[in-house]
């Protein structure tokens, strides 16, 4: 009986020849990440159970959820985390991007184990990594011991085949999958993405797929590393592949060429419809960015649609690169200028308004269309605001129209 990538990576990290779904194991972790929202609680836990972190080089702290601080409470939390970083001599501290983008650009290698105090830590799985989100106390434990306990998850295989239609992005495909399986369709499981679409997809698109695995309840998303992964990372890792006879609890066949632009309607991520069915809905804010869709490919798509045009008068458009590297690359390629000329606002790399703490908070009755990954009531401000989730193409086109529109007419 064969094994999946997830089983192989966790066996390797547990110094075991084999683990299978349902087993419990204690694995070494290669990266332990926390951000400004989750690090404070992790540090409180850490101080109760530890004196020194197990290895300062393997701890990564990123200020992205509310940086620069929008109020005194936020500044105080930052201060406490900075003190911890200094005391523990942690060299890996960043304030210039979303934590997951920082990890994929600078830290992760195929075959490793990454734990992060952020639910979207499943993103990094796109590079052939076992990467999962944990809470602050688990992260405190990992900071002390360098280890973490896991139940080996059953795997689900999503076989994505065919070529996407014009104007259809990876975001549309993952939204379609979430609509099919539901918010708990992969609860506790590993979501493995395979198929010719995934092989042909850019690393950026693969990251978008894995980013939203948690929206189906999955423990991790994962894609086999290949030449593209290595080229993107510029460093080598240990490539694990699922065996041909690996055991999957379920297999889904996703016909990519049949998918139209999708939108997740409020108030849940699995409330997925075709853009056509909500076309004409007025929007007040449009947001392109986040760990889901703040990469160069996404900003390029936005710039292509916005170039030489003006956004609607009633709309505020925010574009937030996922990291400084993305920002500078987008600048160099002229995308930023096109976006600004169209009326878009660029903010510093980070999570932006996705968590409702700054930079584009919503009032009662306002509607936002966003490339982020969650549309829960109250996430971006008033619980009476509405959030629609869509691809960068759909969001950019909707910003021009002032209402939700199918992006294909704008390409």
């Amino acid at each position: 009986m064969g094994l999946t990538i997830t089983e192989k990576i966790l066996a390797n990290a547990s110094h075991k020849s084999k683990v299978t779904s349902g087993d419990f194991t204690i694995a070494d972790v290669d990266i332990v990440m926390a951000h400004d929202s989750t690090a404070p609680l992790a540090i409180e836990g850490f101080c109760e159970i530890g004196k020194k972190v197990f290895d300062p080089n393997k701890i990564v702290i990123v200020f992205d959820h509310f940086f620069p601080p929008p109020n005194i409470d936020a500044a105080r939390l930052h201060q406490r985390v900075r003190n911890f970083i200094t005391e523990q001599k942690i060299p890996n501290f960043f304030t210039d991007g979303v934590c997951h983008q920082i990890l994929v650009e600078k830290f992760v290698s195929p075959g490793t184990v990454v734990v992060g105090a952020d639910s979207h830590t499943c993103t990094e799985g796109a590079l052939g990594v076992f990467s999962t989100g944990l809470g602050s106390t688990d992260i405190a434990g990992a900071m002390v011991t360098g280890k973490c306990w896991f139940r080996i998850p059953e795997s689900l295989r999503f076989n994505l085949f065919g070529s996407p239609r014009k104007g259809v992005c990876a975001k549309d495909i993952i939204l379609n999958i979430i609509g099919q399986v539901g918010a708990d369709g992969a609860l506790y499981k590993a979501a493995e993405f395979t198929g010719d679409y995934v092989k042909k997809a850019s690393v950026s698109s693969r990251l978008t797929l894995c980013n939203m695995a948690v929206e189906t309840g999955a423990k991790n998303g994962i894609i086999e590393a290949d030449g593209k992964t290595e080229e993107f990372l510029g460093r080598e890792g240990k490539v694990f592949k699922s065996d041909n006879d690996a055991v999957y609890e379920e297999e889904y066949e996703i016909e990519v060429d049949k998918i139209d632009p999708q939108v997740a309607c409020p108030p849940t991520v699995d409330n997925v419809k075709s853009v056509a069915s909500v076309e004409g809905k007025d929007v007040d804010q449009a947001y392109i960015g986040t760990c889901t869709n703040g990469r160069l490919e996404d900003i390029e798509m936005a710039a292509r649609i916005l170039k030489g045009k003006k956004i609607a008068d009633n709309v505020r458009l925010l574009v937030i690169p996922a990291s400084t590297r993305v920002y500078l690359d987008a600048f160099g390629k002229g995308y930023i200028q096109k976006i600004v000329e169209s009326g878009g606002i660029i903010c510093n790399p980070g999570c932006g308004p996705c968590v409702g703490r700054h930079e584009g908070v919503l009032a009662e009755g306002e509607v936002c269309i966003s490339t982020q990954n969650r549309n829960f009531s109250g996430r971006m401000g008033s619980p009476k605001a509405e959030i629609y989730l869509a691809s960068p193409a759909t969001v950019a086109a909707s910003a021009l129209a002032g209402k939700i529109v199918d992006p294909r007419e704008y390409l």
Binding site: T38, L41, E48, G50, D118, L134, S136, T137, S377
Partner: protein
Amino acid sequence: MRAWKFGNDVNTDLITPGRYTITTDPEKLGKIAFIEHRPEFAKNVKAGDIIVAGKNFGCGSSREHSPVAIKAAGINAVIAKSFARIFFRNAINIGLPLIICEDAEEIDDGDVVEIDFDTGRIHDKTKGVVLNAKPLPKFIQKIVEKGGLVNFLRSEGYP
């Protein structure tokens, strides 16, 4: 123990909206539990009350503020059909007991409920009905009884 009933897929933004969680103070968090989703909750909840819910309770963010807020508000246990994975670990780690019960939805809002954590027996006294759930494994119960992973590890000699 009065039951507070919630539906399916109750997410962390409903439990503790992001803009209220720029703090680690349990007392402050207890006061904002379900602040917008169910404003009467934090005002009227009594120490020892419980929450019952449908599937996928606690989905969304990894923020530990959510179980901390529920526990600090006075809730003694959450019974649900299923829990989101990160919420499940977080609740255990901060000492909030959880019970997975297929029939959780039979309990109604306001019912008086008694739970035996050792056996998983749930007694709805209002309805006179007994529901059976699988108890948490012993070692998990031990962590919860100690008040969470930090206290558990301290009792084991850390740091």
